[in-house]
């Protein structure tokens, strides 16, 4: 593959997955500045090894795996502080009525407080659109364990919202 072909291939990946990659990075580290850095490093690594991606249909799990490894690498070095959701983050890309927006904000705060073993598979399912089998493959755990974690993630979120503990 020559440089131009590699660039075109990379551009297709960026067009299709840039926003999901960023959102995944944000929710992994819950810190906007760190998410910027991790996304930059993830995409640099992806560009450098794009020849190794055999099947473009597998690009999304491939990118998410690089992202998760990069996050783990950064997290091992220093455990950055997560930040509270600020007003900027709560400014939504979609327009919602005030009641719906408040519910979404409460949900975000509840997601922030989820244990990562429940949050990670949930992010992969909702942001990545991965099936339970695909999540199990990426996390290296059984499908049954993924389903249990997804079940508990939703139960905890509903419970926190119900009890008003999210705030």
């Amino acid at each position: 593959m020559n440089h131009e072909q590699r660039q075109k291939r990379f551009a297709r990946l960026v067009e299709a997955h840039a926003r999901d990659i960023y959102r995944m990075a944000f929710w992994l580290c819950r810190n906007k500045e760190l998410a910027d850095d991790i996304v930059q490093e993830t995409m640099t690594r992806a560009w450098k090894s794009i020849d190794r991606l055999q099947d473009e249909n597998a690009a999304k799990p491939w990118l998410f795996t690089i992202l998760r490894r990069e996050h783990a690498r950064v997290y091992e070095k220093n455990r950055p502080e997560t930040v509270e959701l600020d007003e900027t983050l709560l400014a939504d890309p979609d327009q919602h009525n005030p009641e719906m927006q408040e519910q979404i904000n409460q949900l975000r705060k509840a997601i922030m407080k989820l244990d990562e073993k429940y949050r990670d598979p949930l992010m992969m399912q909702i942001i990545g659109g991965f099936s339970c089998d695909e999540i199990a493959d990426q996390l290296g755990i059984s499908k049954a364990a993924v389903m249990t974690q997804l079940f508990r993630a939703r139960e905890q979120l509903k419970s926190r919202l119900g009890k008003g503990l999210a705030s």
């Binding site: 990379f10 551009a11 995409m43 400014a91 949900l107 949930l122 389903m147 249990t148």
Partner: protein, 231 residues
């Protein structure tokens, strides 16, 4: 699929297209209601995870391909690491916005604070035919359809000349103050008292964008970045 398995799947993978699961969801009124509730919760989850993404993230990612990454042997890696640490140290110093940029930012913020940019009553509109020559003089080609603008005028910001646009968007009016020679290196939040605002780098200048409560301004910033080009 039995009811226990259905409830388990409803809480772990409610958007599953598994035929047995879908059949169980339609089995009776109670299941239908549970299924609809689960789907509504999924919509909320999707909206919650749908957090804002930085302006022009795609362009930033594509910039990566403009840098070459040569492979090095092990012997040179130590030397490179030393060189890299020096570069990082210098970069950290250089990363701090230069004083001229800080001043520009302060002037733009002061301008917005002193004059509500949404109040155009005191400003005299100029004809659209006067705008294009101004951009050309600044070395900028306008790729934005001027017919979409409801209002446009010149606007002094500090010692610079800016352009004051008002865009009529479905979510409400959006005001943009673009100063072509007032540089900004990053997007900054200008939100004040519930009114969303952004300062975004556009070409070699800055655009201050002010909208209506609840309005997402990132797409506007993207439109500007894509619609203005250097000649």
């Amino acid at each position: 699929m039995n009811q226990e398995k259905f409830l388990e799947m409803l809480a772990s993978d409610p958007k599953s297209r598994d035929p047995d699961f879908l059949a169980q969801a339609e089995k009776n009124d109670e299941n239908r209601e549970l299924y609809q509730q689960a789907l509504a919760f999924e919509d909320s989850l999707l909206a919650a995870f749908n957090t804002p993404v930085p302006v022009a993230i795609e362009e930033t990612m594509l910039d990566i391909t403009k840098v070459s990454y040569p492979r090095f042997g092990k012997k040179t890696i130590g030397l490179l690491a030393l060189a890299a640490s020096l570069v990082i140290s210098v970069s950290l110093v250089l990363f701090t916005p230069p004083p001229s940029e800080q001043l520009a930012y302060q002037q733009l913020v002061a301008h917005i604070s002193e004059h509500d940019p949404r109040d155009t009553a005191s400003l005299v509109p100029v004809s659209k035919s006067e705008i294009e020559p101004y951009f050309i003089q600044k070395g900028i080609e306008l790729g934005i359809d001027l017919d979409d603008l409801t209002y446009i005028t010149f606007c002094p910001v500090g010692d610079k000349q800016g352009i004051h646009f008002v865009l009529d968007k479905p979510e409400g009016l959006v005001t943009v103050i673009f100063v072509p020679d007032m540089p900004a290196s990053r997007v900054q939040d200008l939100q004040k008292e519930g009114i969303p605002g952004l300062l975004a780098p556009v070409l070699d200048g800055s655009a201050a964008i002010v909208g209506q409560p609840g309005q997402d301004l990132y797409p506007i910033a993207n439109t500007l970045r894509k619609g203005l080009h250097k000649i």
